[in-house]
């Protein structure tokens, strides 16, 4: 179907169900993936628009040997998730934020994640999780 959305191709055709759908108005960000390295909401893009471009989903974030990305570690260490439904989108959005701003203030983290909704955590530990990743990344470089 030409009208198939990117998120449905990822989930239904490719079986990459880590990317979620939480709304129908591009509001919640649960479907956030990277397109050519930048975060996009995959519910707001037709699959045909992604033709020839590189898509990274949550399944592709950890290293090939299973080493967690610092953000994945951070969400685990800092209890940045409860039900886990928003988490893949939240992590992908945070990865994009850190790519653009490797050392954000708390304010910048909060505004950087404005396009991703979470109902469980009140965002407190999500912010801590991102800060953990910043610290780890700093420590490793």
């Amino acid at each position: 179907e030409p009208r198939t959305l990117l998120v449905h191709t990822l989930r239904d055709t490719l079986g990459l169900t880590g990317t979620h759908v939480g709304c129908d108005t591009s509001s919640c960000g649960a479907c956030t993936v990277h397109l050519d390295g930048e975060a996009i909401k995959s519910c707001t893009m037709l699959t045909v628009q992604a033709d020839g471009r590189e898509v990274t989903t949550i399944e592709g974030l950890a290293g090939a040997d299973g080493t967690l990305h610092p953000l994945q570690e951070g969400f685990w260490e800092r209890h940045g998730l409860q039900c886990g439904y928003c988490t893949p989108g939240m992590i992908m959005a945070a990865a994009d934020l850190l790519a653009r701003n490797p050392n954000p203030t708390e304010e910048e983290i909060r505004h950087g994640l404005e396009g991703n909704l979470c109902r469980c955590t009140g965002y407190h530990n999500i912010v801590r999780a991102v800060q953990y990743a910043v610290e780890q990344t700093g420590a490793r470089t």
């Binding site: 974030l61 505004h111 404005e114 979470c118 407190h124």
Partner: protein, 805 residues
């Protein structure tokens, strides 16, 4: 080191942070069909005709069903509250509309086909002819004699009346020196978990398996069996990973029964996932009460009585608990205060909206909001400090267990303790000085308090069951525990977690009782075909009831282990202690690890004590003697931009007491999320219907869930007052934050705006509402000049501005 009490990282997380979780919509089965629903755009109308012929002919469509197809196949949807001595007018609610629709979104036809796109297109082919009927959406207007009736056959829009009281309320208020009266609107909200509802039904060989994004798989199994005329062992409900519930998934849904039935009829698996727009329209809402509250006190602040008359807008139909929810507030209407006379009167009303039911807190946030907002209002009237007024009336620590005037017994408490802790984190006097100084500069800050208790740990069956409150369900919980041959442990709980961290914290409980690490303990939940029947997760019950059942089952198992070890090592069972990971003979280094005990019990049963059963498996069903009553003291600090009306939360402090903390990490997480939910209601979120019954807030664009940018950093701390109701000494914490937060926020906003003539405000304190309140208050005070408007010029009138007494 004990596992209990440690901030253990969650066992749940590795799969969820890598995209390996399995939520209902992630699942597919061979031959699976998709379903969608044709829903009414009318709020109240006769259905003149439904033409499904074009939809049925569309390629890929397997079936289109209306209520006629369903005839005789299943009964109307259930409601589980039959309070003794109370008449509850109960309309029939069918899974698909019969003759008329009573709210926007009511399902008229179900379409099943080969793909999501096919059924969406086919839904557009269905032609429904409506004959509109008069609509009523205002709950007060709905009780007027000339109001249109939602269900004319019931003869009234009044659903029921329910009262709970103790002491002579009129005499108590008569003795008061000051009585304040407020009309408090607690508006309609949505639970809005980020995962929408979804279900996948697979009927084959006489058995129905259904995966559902639910909090209550065991209830769903019972209702599916009853409605489809099956026996329960032929129905298996699985709640896989569930993306949040917040009460929104504490329901038995029309879509679930239709999917099960359609799968049987078509002999194919059928899946449905609701859209967010559907969720906002037809996943049950919460709150929606108008209360008239009178609170009386002596001049010195001593409370004499509180009377809450609650008008509850229940919507057009009932879910499983709809009319019961407002009454839950009546159980804590005395709050944390010693009040000699307390009276709660509930009147329910039908309107042409979707039904309300339990949303995080369920009746208790509404009651707490009434009490705590009125305490601030009373303090103002008395010229007293709001925190001092509270402290003067606290039930003292020595008086627990405390019997409220209406018979509910609070288990334990130390309200002064949480306030003292709060004041360690918050320089109240300093804030007041700063507040005064900043006002001179046109900066308006306020502080609001909420000292709360809540009733949870649902529930002692004798209190809530048919002979008590009238729920047609018990309140116990089950646990089963099996040690596998090689020493790993599998635990089954009848609770059904959906983000709380049960797999982690329940493993901690078991670990300490068997001398193994939590990593060897696997907690199974949410599948009715494994483990004993359970009663699911809601009402902050999982730890206080489910956790206790696990502790007790584990202790039974540990007792058997001690007997086995004593027999094997030729010692007395009472001399076997658990130390260093061994069941050890006291005072010796002789002992056996759990894996050795299990190997013996399974593989060499002939070596067990005479008459002992082989294997290592126990279960326990725990029915508590009482509820548990968490409590705490919260403070919210806000700054209001008086030019735009925008409220910013500067600080939020939550001092809670949920009894013994089993995993502090999880407790803080529950408090954060709960408080955010309460702040969301206080400032942003609202379900709005217009006068025609059209839903105005049908998406996340219009329904303003808080984002990271609006939420503050939460400052949390705890006191520990164990509950005597269970051996773990725990209380619940899932709903506490939500129950506490909204009055703290609203009191802070009012506190900020008092110099501008604003002494009361209803939620949500949106910029528009706050700006209007400032400008109405300011209109009578020429010194508070607003930009673009001359002093003394009347501001815009607000239809939502409340009257206040």
């Amino acid at each position: 080191m004990n596992a209990v009490g440690q901030p253990l990282k969650r066992k749940e997380d590795p799969k969820l942070i890598t995209g390996q979780g399995q939520y209902t919509d992630d699942l597919t089965l061979p031959g699976m069909l998709h379903a969608t629903f044709v829903r009414s755009p009318e709020a109240h109308a006769k259905i003149v005709s439904v033409d499904v012929s074009a939809a049925r002919e569309r390629p890929g469509v397997s079936a289109v069903y209306t209520i006629e197809d369903l005839a005789g196949a299943c009964g109307p949807m259930p409601m589980a509250w039959v309070p003794p001595g109370v008449e509850v007018k109960t309309p029939e609610r069918w899974p698909l509309a019969k003759d008329e629709v009573n709210h926007v979104g009511e399902a008229i036809a179900m379409i099943v086909g080969s793909s999501r796109e096919v059924v969406a297109d086919a839904a557009e082919d269905v032609i429904v002819e409506y004959d509109p009927l008069p609509v009523v959406t205002d709950p007060e207007a709905a009780l007027l004699p000339d109001s249109p009736l939602v269900h004319p056959d019931l003869g009234t829009n009044k659903t029921h009346e329910w009262s709970l009281g103790g002491g002579d309320i009129e005499a108590a208020l008569g003795e008061a020196d000051v009585v304040i009266e407020r009309r408090i609107v607690n508006h309609r909200t949505s639970g809005a978990p980020i995962e929408p509802r979804a279900a996948l039904a697979d009927f084959r060989a006489g058995e129905l398996t259904m995966w559902s994004a639910t909090q209550v798989p065991h209830f769903v199994r019972l209702f599916m069996a009853l409605l489809l005329g099956m026996t329960e062992e032929r129905v298996r409900i699985i709640a896989p990973d569930v993306g949040g519930g917040f009460g929104a998934k504490l329901q038995f849904c029309a879509e679930e029964i239709l999917l099960g039935w359609a799968s049987q009829k078509l002999a194919r698996p059928v899946k449905w996932t609701e859209t967010r727009s559907e969720h906002m329209a037809v996943c049950h809402h919460g709150r929606d009460q108008i209360a008239r509250v009178r609170l009386g006190a002596k001049r010195d602040g001593t409370l004499t009585g509180i009377h809450a008359k609650i008008l509850a807008d229940l919507g057009a139909y009932y879910g499983i608990l709809t009319p019961a929810i407002p009454s839950l507030g009546g159980f804590v209407m005395t709050g944390v205060y010693r009040i000699p006379a307390v009276q709660t009167d509930v009147v329910g009303v039908f309107t042409n909206k979707y039904f309300t039911d339990a949303i995080r807190g369920a009746g208790r946030p509404e009651a707490t909001h009434m009490i705590e907002v009125c305490m601030d209002q009373l303090a103002q009237e008395l010229g007293m400090d709001p925190l001092e007024l509270r402290r003067r009336n606290f039930i003292p620590k020595e008086e627990f267990p405390y019997a409220t005037p209406y018979g509910v017994v609070y288990d334990s408490g130390d309200y002064e303790g949480t306030v003292s802790l709060l004041l360690e984190h918050f320089d109240y006097e300093g804030f007041r000085r700063e507040q005064t100084a900043l006002r001179e500069q046109g900066v308006y800050r306020g502080v609001g308090f909420s000292t709360y208790t809540e009733i949870c740990g649902l529930a002692p069956s004798r209190a809530t069951g048919p002979a008590g409150f009238g729920m047609q369900a018990p309140g116990w919980e089950s646990a089963a525990i099996r040690v596998n041959i090689t020493g790993g442990v599998t635990v089954y709980t009848g609770t059904s977690g959906h983000g709380q961290g049960h797999e982690t914290v329940f493993a901690q409980i078991v670990a300490d009782r068997l001398g193994v690490g939590p990593e060897l303990i696997d907690v199974m939940h949410g599948d009715t075909a494994t483990g004993p029947m359970g009663l699911n997760t809601y009402g902050s019950r999982s730890m206080a009831v489910g956790g206790e059942a696990i502790a007790k089952a584990t202790e039974r198992l540990a007792e058997k282990c001690r007997k086995i070890v004593a027999h094997a090592l030729e010692a007395a069972a009472e001399d076997i202690e658990l130390a260093d990971g061994l069941f050890r003979v006291r005072g010796t280094d002789k002992g056996m690890a759990l894996a050795e005990v299990s190997g013996l019990a399974h593989v060499r049963p002939e070596l067990l004590p005479e008459g002992m059963e082989p294997a290592l498996e126990e279960r326990f069903f725990f029915d508590p003697e009482n509820f548990v009553f968490p409590f705490g003291a919260h403070a919210c600090l806000v700054e209001v931009d008086v030019e735009t009306g925008k409220v910013e939360v500067l600080r939020y402090l939550a001092m809670d007491d949920c009894g013994n903390p089993l995993n502090p990490l999880l407790i803080d997480g529950q408090v954060h999320g709960g408080v955010a939910h309460g702040i969301g209601q206080a400032l942003y979120e609202q379900i709005v219907y217009d006068e025609y019954g059209q839903l105005v807030t049908g998406t996340f664009v219009d329904y303003a869930l808080p984002t990271a940018a609006e939420m503050p950093t939460f400052e949390t701390d705890r006191t520990v007052t164990p509950s005597p109701v269970n051996s773990l000494g725990v209380k619940g914490v899932g709903e506490a934050g939500t129950i506490a937060a909204s009055p703290a926020v609203l009191n802070a906003v009012i506190d900020a705006l008092r110099p501008l003539g604003v002494d009361y405000l209803d939620m949500p304190a949106t910029p528009m509402r706050v700006w209007e309140a400032i400008n109405e208050g300011g209109a009578s005070r020429s010194r508070h000049r607003q930009p673009g408007r001359k002093a003394g010029e009347p501001g815009p009138r607000s239809s939502s501005t409340p009257e206040s007494g």
